[in-house]
């Protein structure tokens, strides 16, 4: 698959939020969990997008290395998520915290990434990319594109939420229920994207 096909597929046909449901709680804005990546308040959009792309790309690449170079030869590929939690998450957390202690955009990116690392979004995207039969560069590209796809979908949902807050909805549908239905309609629109066509964009690398 070409890099263009991987990116288009990860953003559209296999969107992390709308197809896989990863990170749905903060995107919907429900529960007591912090809205990841400035999604709820819309702050620092550039930092959010960068954080999502960087952390997911790094997680996918590192998990690919651990899985492909260490676990697979030992016949332990099925334990990838355990080793991800044990040996990949701590350095990623440390990296995010180091970036957080700086200033400017890197600090904002680090703060967002620090919040995101432990959750279904980063774990899910890393597992999909590492188990997807890609090479190292392709897995990293798929991770970054999936992060950007999530950012795109959650940003659209935030805009919809702002509009819905001004409209006259029945009480029972205000908030999370209307956001879930909106996410379902967006997901339905993406069902129309031909995944085979998207994957073959740009031909073979």
């Amino acid at each position: 698959m070409s890099y263009l096909g991987i990116i288009a597929s990860s953003v559209l046909a296999s969107n992390a939020l709308l197809s896989y449901g990863f990170g749905a709680i903060p995107a919907i804005g429900a529960g007591s969990f912090r809205a990841a990546a400035g999604i709820r308040d819309g702050r620092s959009s550039l930092a959010s997008a960068l954080a999502l792309a960087c952390i997911n790309s790094a997680a996918a690449a590192v998990l690919w290395c651990v899985r492909g170079l260490v676990l697979f030869p030992l016949g332990l590929a099925g334990l990838d998520i355990f080793f991800f939690a044990l040996i990949v998450v701590p350095p990623l957390k440390a990296l995010a915290r180091a970036a957080r202690s700086g200033s400017g955009i890197p600090a904002a990116v680090g703060a967002e990434a620090d919040e995101l690392i432990v959750g279904s979004l980063v774990f899910g995207i890393a597992l999909v990319a590492a188990r997807g039969g890609y090479g190292l560069g392709e897995a990293a590209a798929a991770g970054a594109a999936s992060g950007l796809g999530y950012w795109m979908a959650s940003s659209l949902l935030r805009r919809i939420r702002e509009r819905l807050e001004l409209s006259d909805l029945p009480d029972a549908f205000k908030g999370a229920p209307s956001m879930l239905i909106s996410a379902g309609l967006m997901s339905m629109a993406l069902l129309g994207v031909d995944s085979a066509l998207v994957r073959n964009l740009g031909g073979s690398p």
Binding site: Y20, G21, I28, G31, F82, L86, V118, S120, L127, I181
Partner: protein, 207 residues
């Protein structure tokens, strides 16, 4: 005279939307709903017991990593169990079985167990975790059942080694959309709204 009310456990799935990630994407049938619900309950209870039992043994600084590692071990153990029981069911659920480790139900338990002021897991806290897990399991099974009936026109129970017991076989054109994530989001939205209406009629606060 004051009226005494039974303890109220809000449905974590329909009220707080906790753990919706696997539900929208992978809970497409009753067997999948049962597998995800039991898995979430298993991980939460095991985490509740082990993370508190190890409170004096693991330094506070390492507790989050320790709990996360425990959660992944529990999810992996459970996913191996599901694969042994029904390989087809495990294949259908794919990465959502190991991801139970970081589903919001597990993270919720980790948060409660790791907060500095939290006490070791007494019977009361474990009972609370068990009650939430049971409510989550019931909701996951109901959602899976609805999606299977309307989306596939049947209702089945998984038997060992990929067998299945067909409880119902309906003769109508199924709504295929319900088997996709889009249908999961939309159904969950309507169920969450219905849950709010029921709560309001029962005099409870809308979450």
């Amino acid at each position: 005279m004051t009226e005494e009310r039974a303890p109220f456990v809000p449905n974590p799935l329909l009220a707080g939307l906790i753990g919706i990630c696997p539900i929208v994407a992978a809970d497409r049938s009753l067997p999948e709903g049962l597998a995800l619900g039991i898995g979430a309950a298993f991980c939460s209870l095991l985490l509740g017991i082990l993370s508190s039992a190890s409170r004096g043994l693991v330094p506070d600084r390492l507790r989050p990593l320790f709990s996360l590692t425990l959660a992944t071990a529990a999810a992996l153990l459970y996913s191996f169990g599901v694969r042994a029981y029904s390989p087809a069911l495990a294949d259908g659920l794919g990465i959502y079985l190991p991801l139970l480790a970081v589903s919001a139900t597990s993270l919720h338990t980790i948060k409660r167990g790791s907060s500095p002021g939290s006490r070791p897991a007494g019977g009361e806290r474990l009972a609370s975790i068990a009650m939430e897990a049971a409510v989550f399991l019931a909701a996951a099974a109901v959602i899976g059942g609805i999606r299977e009936i309307l989306g596939q026109g049947s209702l089945t129970i998984p038997l060992p080694r990929d067998g299945e017991l067909r409880l119902a076989d309906l003769s109508f054109r199924p709504i295929g959309l319900l088997s996709a994530s889009a249908g999961g989001f939309i159904l969950l939205g309507f169920l969450a709204a219905a849950y709010r209406i029921i709560l309001r009629k029962a005099g409870r606060r809308i979450p």
